[in-house]
């Protein structure tokens, strides 16, 4: 499309929401918004799981509480489903935007360099795409493993504690959890920093704070999540 046609399109097209999401900057803002929601959720998820260290009764009580959240005003698991649907919508937008932007970026450089060197791009920033794919595959496996149980040989309905312990005792399952959560850590290390720029919250006064924020939460979430398979493997939790 010619530049003039592009301008005309901006002048005429659709509602602002449609226009907004069609632009790459809009997509990045949506990625930042959905990303920060997923981050909030994953942080709470990690904190909730710390109940593993308080024993079976506590963890199972917590699992049951999540299910009954909102009752009796809502049907049992009602609030839980609302939350699940909301998170799913976030995941769909986050991934859709990532795929569209990746396509756009590939097309912008059809011929690469023989030799290229990176001066500033961190490992985390360069692995956002593959890291994202690893996280997605892991989330699917994780749901089949500890939520629905199809991927768990000793699954006991309503006994989250035992499912975690018997599940993560298998060395390769623990390895999958460890690798995926390292990938999540890298994803968050870049994402929690870059999301501020995506929505325009940059200022020399706060830039170092952005880095601290991203590093701190990436480390806390990764450390917490890695501790579960490690604790089961070493027999600290059994």
């Amino acid at each position: 499309m010619s530049a003039a046609a592009a301008i005309r399109e901006v002048n005429s097209k659709m509602t602002w929401a449609g226009n907004f999401y069609r632009s790459a900057i809009g997509k990045k803002a949506v990625m930042a918004a959905t990303g920060v929601i997923l981050f909030g959720w994953i942080f709470l998820h990690m904190v909730g799981n710390l109940k593993l260290y308080m024993g079976a009764v506590h963890l199972n009580e917590y699992a049951h509480w999540l299910r009954a959240l909102g009752a009796p005003a809502m049907p049992e698991t009602g609030a839980l489903w609302l939350m699940r649907i909301f998170l799913l919508v976030c995941v769909v937008f986050h991934i859709h935007a990532a795929v569209m932007l990746t396509k756009m970026n590939r097309e912008a450089r059809p011929v690469g360099y023989r030799d290229r060197d990176y001066l500033a791009a961190s490992y985390a920033s360069r692995t956002m795409r593959w890291g994202g794919v690893i996280i997605l595959l892991f989330v699917i496996y994780h749901l089949l493993h500890l939520t629905t149980g199809q991927a768990h040989p000793n699954f006991i309905q309503d006994d989250a504690y035992s499912n975690v312990v018997t599940g993560l005792r298998v060395w390769w399952v623990a390895a999958v959890y460890i690798i995926a959560n390292l990938a999540l850590g890298f994803h968050l290390y870049h994402g929690l920093w870059s999301m501020f720029a995506s929505v325009g919250w940059v200022h020399p006064k706060y830039n170092s704070w952005r880095r601290t924020f991203a590093t701190t939460f990436a480390v806390i979430i990764t450390a917490g999540n890695l501790s579960f398979p490690l604790a089961v493997l070493t027999g600290i939790v059994r």
């Binding site: 005429s12 912008a108 990176y118 791009a121």
Partner: protein, 255 residues
């Protein structure tokens, strides 16, 4: 010093290109990178071969003409804020092999050898990188007061020489650093206010037709010969988001 250089040679836009290896012997460490190429070219011409084509003009880092990928880094200075013409051979060691490639992006087709068509950047400027003023006698300079800090930020953005290194270095082939510098240098100043929203919407729309999107890798900032900060990208995002939320359809039509 004696060097071996591998240079991308391509006869025309349509022709297939490839690397050709030359020896660049007896080069002074005080020569600039372009002077090293000049020496190689003189020797080629003496032999009746076609010289290596590259773009250059001011040779002092202000025009933005020169620019090539040197060992996988745009302008080759690795974070020192230099354009190719300001890079000196003392940055290299005797016996080094140097790979020299043209900028690569869909929007930057190779014209010949190391020369690419950077017209895509001009299209972004045409879309809104200007202010509309009445011509006539110059207005009194002190009519519009601009705080010093704002002037300086605007000047930091205005330092962009449109060389295209940001696009060349970006893994996404994005022109965000360039566009954000242009959007910001006008958007920060009072003269740029009337067209501020329209400007960012149009410049971004045209940019996105040709270039990639930003992942905040920070590569552009690291190679920019004018050391323009990626904070301008955040600023452009903010301007763009605000403009798309607050600009009604009708306002956009009247252009």
């Amino acid at each position: 010093m004696n060097l071996k250089i591998h240079v991308w040679r391509q006869k025309s836009r349509e022709a297939e290109g490839g690397f050709v290896t030359y020896s660049a012997d007896a080069i002074s460490p005080d020569a600039s990178f372009l002077e090293m190429l000049d020496v190689v070219n003189e020797r080629l011409m003496e032999k009746g071969e076609e010289s290596i084509h590259f773009e250059h003009d001011c040779r002092e880092g202000i025009c933005g003409s020169c620019g090539m990928m040197i060992n996988g880094v745009a302008h080759g200075s690795r974070g020192n804020g230099l354009a190719t013409c300001q890079l000196h051979m003392r940055h290299f060691k005797d016996g080094d092999e140097i790979w020299i490639e043209p900028w690569r992006a869909r929007a930057f087709p190779v014209i010949k050898d190391l020369i690419v068509d950077r017209g895509g950047l001009d299209k972004i400027i045409q879309a809104g990188g200007y202010i509309s003023v009445n011509t006539g006698s110059a207005p009194e300079a002190n009519m519009l007061l601009v705080p010093k800090a704002v002037q300086e930020r605007a000047m930091d953005a205005a330092a962009c020489i449109q060389c295209g290194a940001c696009v060349a270095q970006c893994p996404n082939g994005a022109a965000q650093l360039f566009t954000s510098a242009k959007v910001s240098h006008l958007g920060l100043l009072p003269q740029g206010q009337p067209e501020r929203k329209e400007r960012v919407l149009k410049m971004v729309a045209v940019m996105e037709e040709m270039f990639g999107s930003c992942t905040l890798y920070g590569e552009c900032e690291a190679v920019c010969p004018k050391e323009i900060s990626i904070d301008f990208i955040g600023r452009m995002n903010r301007d763009y988001l605000a403009a798309s939320v607050t600009t009604a359809k009708k306002e956009k039509v009247e252009t």
